[in-house]
């Protein structure tokens, strides 16, 4: 038996993973303005951003099956170095999971706690894209 998630990934993995990355971009669009002081800090909103990263980081790797580069920006390196790609996702996942756990029920208490939780998650965007995305 294959799970429903696997079937969806096989149906249209590019669309699925792009939707997940859009979700992560949306979460960054909340997190960064709060970190920069351009948006008022709100623990529940901060938690929503972290929870989004946690979901994307935990589910995302399933949507890069062999041969699914297509017309996307996914770099060939994903399939040339599957172990490296797996490790990069694992790093993202563990940072996001730690942030989610640190958020507690109400979300990080203040901006400083949010920064400490979400900073290590955001670092993964650039470091993973550098190797595994084309632009």
């Amino acid at each position: 038996m294959v799970s429903a998630g696997t079937v969806a990934a096989q149906d249209n993995p590019i669309k699925s993973r792009q939707a997940l990355m859009d979700a992560a971009a949306g979460a960054a669009g909340i997190a960064v303005p709060m970190l920069k002081g351009e948006m008022e800090y709100n623990p529940a909103v901060a938690k929503a951003a972290i929870a989004t990263f946690y979901g994307v980081a935990t589910a995302g790797q399933a949507f890069f099956p062999e041969g699914s580069a297509g017309d996307s920006k996914a770099a060939p390196k994903i399939w040339e170095d599957p172990e490296g790609f797996k490790a990069a996702f694992a790093k993202f996942q563990s940072a996001a999971e730690a942030a989610f756990q640190a958020s507690g029920k109400e979300g990080p208490a203040d901006l400083k706690a949010f920064q400490a939780a979400v900073g290590p998650v955001l670092q993964n965007c650039g470091s993973c894209h550098e190797t595994y995305r084309l632009e």
Binding site: A75, G126, T131, L134, E135
Partner: protein, 302 residues
């Protein structure tokens, strides 16, 4: 008949002599160093990150302090062959440790090896030629503080006729200039001027973001308007302030992108640009702001 033959030979000899003369290396002499302040490694480090030296000259995949081992080895694909970045660590035989200051200035600003032979413009001296000699000697002083690394990088793979190094001399006649690319009038904001220097000189942004001619020189009429990726798939984006470019980005959007890799839509830079961002993040914020000011001030291109 014989007279025509003599004339033909004479013409060929003259043409050959002219070609030899035109393709000759044109090094700078000692006078370029006159009047400079003593080289300063601290200032040179800022030039080092502005130039993004590690993107090509660190070992491929190196991170953190390992990036400061300038062992070379990255292969740059192009229609003219694959160019392998050399070891530029201060190792006396495998790197550039035994070079003089003037050797380094001539490599950076004139594309010449210490023996006077032409370097290929995969090393972006067409941009570095716009740098100040002071910045170049400061950079050299900084590189000399980095660890020497043993071992030459691999050999470039350049097929005939591009393998004729001397021919690079003709390329330089067409494309090597210390003139600024964009003409700004008097009274231009000093931040725009600083940004111009960083982008057109050490930052060598145009080398990827500007289309090239059939001869591999930059198409200056399309300055920063985007280009096909030299490495194959994908396109390098237009970064002029137009609708197709980044006209909708504010100056602070651009500066933040150069620091963090996040676009205004919170997409995050990948590939070569992610490396550029890592380097740019090391600059003082006023340099990123200057680059942003320049990119808002240049002519928009579709």
């Amino acid at each position: 008949m014989r007279r025509i033959l003599y004339a033909g030979v004479a013409l060929a000899v003259i043409a050959g002599a002219v070609a030899w003369f035109l393709s000759a290396p044109r090094p700078l002499d000692e006078s370029v160093l006159a009047g400079l302040q003593p080289a300063d490694a601290t200032r040179g480090e800022r030039v080092f990150w502005a130039g993004g030296c590690v993107s090509c000259h660190a070992r491929p995949g190196a991170e953190g302090d390992a990036q400061l081992e300038l062992a070379g080895g990255l292969g740059l694909g192009s229609p003219f062959g694959t160019f392998v970045a050399p070891n530029i660590s201060p190792h006396p035989t495998d790197g550039i440790g035994s070079w003089s200051e003037l050797d380094f200035v001539n490599a950076m600003m004139r594309g010449l090896a210490p023996d006077g032979s032409h370097l290929y413009p995969a090393f972006p001296y067409a941009s570095y030629g716009r740098m100040t000699p002071q910045d170049v000697v400061d950079l050299f002083a900084f590189i000399k503080t980095l660890p020497p690394v043993e071992g030459k990088a691999g050999k470039s793979d350049i097929p005939f006729p591009f393998s004729i190094r001397r021919a690079v001399g003709f390329w330089k006649l067409l494309y090597l200039s210390d003139e600024p690319v964009v003409a700004f009038g008097d009274g231009t904001d000093p931040a725009v001027r600083r940004g111009q220097y960083l982008v057109e000189g050490p930052g060598h942004c145009g080398e990827c973001h500007t289309a090239r001619t059939a001869l591999g020189g930059l198409e200056y009429s399309q300055w920063l308007a985007g280009a096909p990726s030299l490495e194959g798939r994908g396109r390098i984006p237009n970064i002029t302030p137009s609708q197709d470019g980044i006209g909708s980005w504010s100056a602070s959007d651009i500066a933040y992108y150069l620091e963090s890799g996040f676009t205004p839509d919170f997409d995050s830079a990948g590939g070569e640009m992610a490396k550029v961002v890592r380097n740019m993040a090391r600059l003082p914020s006023e340099d990123r702001e200057a680059i942003a000011a320049y990119l808002k001030a240049i002519p928009p291109k579709p």
